[in-house]
């Protein structure tokens, strides 16, 4: 077992905070992607498409 000495709480808090912030960033980006693709799908179902006629979801 790794010993972190008398300042273990500072070390553990640092790593936990980094993990939490990175997890929030990843979660925000994934949820944002789902939200944008859902909104695009709804618009295309209403018949609103790009001038090129291609799906706005192209290559997404």
């Amino acid at each position: 077992m790794m010993s972190l000495g008398p300042y273990a709480s500072f070390i553990v808090t640092s790593y936990a905070a980094a993990a939490l912030v990175v997890a929030i960033l990843i979660g925000w980006i994934v949820l944002d992607y789902r939200s944008q693709t859902q909104r695009l799908r709804v618009l295309e179902e209403r018949g609103i498409t790009r001038r090129s006629g291609r799906s706005a979801m192209d290559a997404s």
Partner: protein, 264 residues
């Protein structure tokens, strides 16, 4: 594929869809190796085990400046070359840069309390990084305050380039002023002052966090492209509705005048 090809958002989406899974896998692998090496690194003779905080503090501090550097280049792309993806890149990078800067400040404070005896000191390095964090927040607020992305892009680009003046101040603050923060020990004249047992995990973690930034940035850029497509489709829908309303009002007006004519 050239840089010009990437100017096409559809090509950019296609390319990043193929690249992102590989980037994510490389990031996870390097982070795992870096964390393993950080766990096995010996205690420092002065800092003890708190040296382990450096393995996340230093990469985040580097990235806080690197991300602003990326945004500055993207801002040049907006103002000078008018590259269609430049302001997408700048806007997508800001929240990620803010998160890394926040982590640099937080982990620095958590290291400072046991080593310096204080969480915070208004010295040149800490204060200039705090200003960088506030500038990230200001930039994000500016993007939200202006509805039209192209107008917001120009204002944000100017602010980003002005803010880039803070980068050399952060870097050289420990040389120009008498600070509590220690001077550079990795990137300095005469080579690194760190022992290999600390330097190798630190560099692995730095590369891993840089890959994490690239992965998150590309994914956030994809989201921003989709958001702009939605905006243009919604505007197209609104103009169609307005056009059909006008046509309807016009034909109703013609019918009404015919009826008046018939009655007369």
């Amino acid at each position: 594929m050239t840089l010009i090809d990437l100017a096409n958002p559809t090509r950019f989406l296609a390319l990043t869809a193929r690249v992102l899974p590989w980037l994510a896998a490389a990031t996870v692998l390097l982070l795992a190796i870096g964390l393993y090496q950080a766990a096995l690194a010996p205690d420092d003779y002065q800092q003890g085990a708190t040296v382990k905080i450096m393995f996340i503090h230093v990469p985040n501090a580097w990235l806080s400046m690197f991300v602003w550097g990326v945004m500055s280049i993207a801002s040049l792309g907006t103002l000078v070359w008018r590259h269609p993806l430049a302001d997408v890149a700048a806007k997508a990078a800001a929240p990620i840069g803010a998160a890394f800067t926040f982590l640099a400040l937080l982990t620095g404070s958590l290291w400072g309390r046991p080593m310096w005896g204080t969480y915070w000191e208004w010295d040149a390095r800490l204060t200039s990084v705090l200003i960088l964090f506030l500038m990230y927040l200001g930039l994000m607020a500016l993007w939200r305050a202006v509805d039209d992305p192209s107008r917001a892009a120009r204002a944000a680009a100017v602010l980003t380039l002005v803010g880039a003046l803070n980068l050399p101040i952060i870097k050289f603050s420990v040389d120009w002023w008498n600070t509590l923060h220690q001077p550079a020990s990795v990137m300095r004249m005469g080579g690194s002052a760190l022992d290999k047992s600390f330097l190798i995990p630190l560099l692995v973690m730095a590369v891993a966090f840089t890959l994490l930034f690239v992965t998150l940035h590309l994914a956030a850029m994809r989201n921003e492209i989709l958001r702009r497509r939605i905006r243009s489709l919604q505007m197209m829908q609104a103009s169609r509705v307005a056009f059909s309303n006008e046509m309807g009002a016009g034909s109703r007006g013609q019918n009404a005048s015919k009826e008046i004519g018939a009655a007369g």
